[in-house]
Symmetry: C2
Subunit: 213 residues, 2 copies
């Protein structure tokens, strides 16, 4: 009955890093950044803690890598759906829909966002990632609104477009936040419905009709 040294299998650096990052995101979502301990992450990834040091020079570096992984995934999820759709109005509607349905709207996604916020505000590298992601979102939304308004024969000046983009982004963010914070407070499709109506009311564009082929 002697304690035997643990068996293991060698994996590619890529696979191991990804596994460690995913385990990190799980624990950060559950317990916050400080609650995601090196030992806990290693256990979740079914690995011993020394390995983390082998792939990341510090816990800090792993956290940053996990944050960037998460942010990239969120933008992909939001923009992938309607990227190829036809009219700008249809793409705008797809953007709203994608932003207000799972897995974007999700308690875990919100928990991750909140958990990272402190570090985002302090760490320069994470701050830069955050600002870049936010600007990407809003610029893309602003461009979509601009084209959709032109399509509708009601082009708007730059200052006005900026306000509309900020406002639409805010409704979407607010609904995303509330949907993640109180998952049982809204019926199926309710957030999408309210999101469409609100963006429509703010921009004056009709987003309720069926998508054109």
């Amino acid at each position: 009955m002697t304690d035997e040294r643990r068996k293991f299998k060698r994996e590619s650096a890529e696979a191991r890093k990804e596994a460690l990052i995913l385990a990190t995101l799980e624990l950060v979502a559950e317990n916050g950044v400080r609650g995601a301990t090196v030992r806990g992450i290693a256990e979740r990834a079914d690995v011993t803690q020394g390995l983390i040091r082998h792939y990341f020079s510090s816990k800090e570096e792993l956290i940053i890598a996990a944050y960037e992984h998460h942010m990239n995934q969120m933008t992909d999820l939001t923009f992938a759906p309607g990227a190829a759709a036809g009219s700008a109005r249809a793409r705008l509607r797809a953007f709203v829909d994608g932003s207000l349905t799972p897995p974007v709207v999700d308690p875990r996604a919100l928990a991750l966002w909140a958990s990272f916020l402190n570090k985002v505000q302090n760490d320069p590298q994470m701050k830069e990632t955050h600002q870049r992601t936010y600007a990407y979102f809003r610029d893309r939304l602003e461009a979509l609104i601009a084209v959709a308004l032109e399509e509708a024969g009601r082009p708007a000046p730059a200052a006005r477009l900026r306000q509309l983009a900020i406002a639409c982004n805010a409704v979407i963010d607010g609904l995303w936040l509330e949907g993640g914070a109180l998952p049982d407070a809204f019926g199926a499709g309710e957030l999408v419905e309210i999101g469409r109506q609100s963006v429509a009311a703010i921009t004056g564009l009709d987003l309720t009709q069926e998508a054109e082929t």
Copy 2:
């Protein structure tokens, strides 16, 4: 040169608890809940750590007390301004204004909200406080919208009112979030301006005009 025992002054339980809570909120905003250590809090409150145990049976209890203190303060700040104003439309406008100006819109307030979120999702007592506060906000907003629409001669059914309240709450929350996350991204009064316009567009009420005496 002997180490002398530290001098101190006795304070009322009320004052000490409040000081400890304020110190806790500072540290939670800066470093998150786990980063707010008992020793750090004691130092910030200019007290030794043993005293915390004297007033709160555990760190957990202090955190909960700090959270409730913060939430109460936020609701007071939001509703105090326009409580006595005349028309429902004026009160609605005051609500928007109060929600979108400092100290409600503030990086620290956002950091606190984010830092507490994890515990809010797990701890039943904190969850209850959160849901109660959210419901209070939204019900109050919904009532305000209902009366304002009646004033304007356009009463709305309950289902519609619910949607309008959710939507308006979302814009306000979203703008609050973005104002706190990116304090330098918006000009003075810009959030209030956009907030008024958006709530106006969603509800169909005019909030841009000057307040009536």
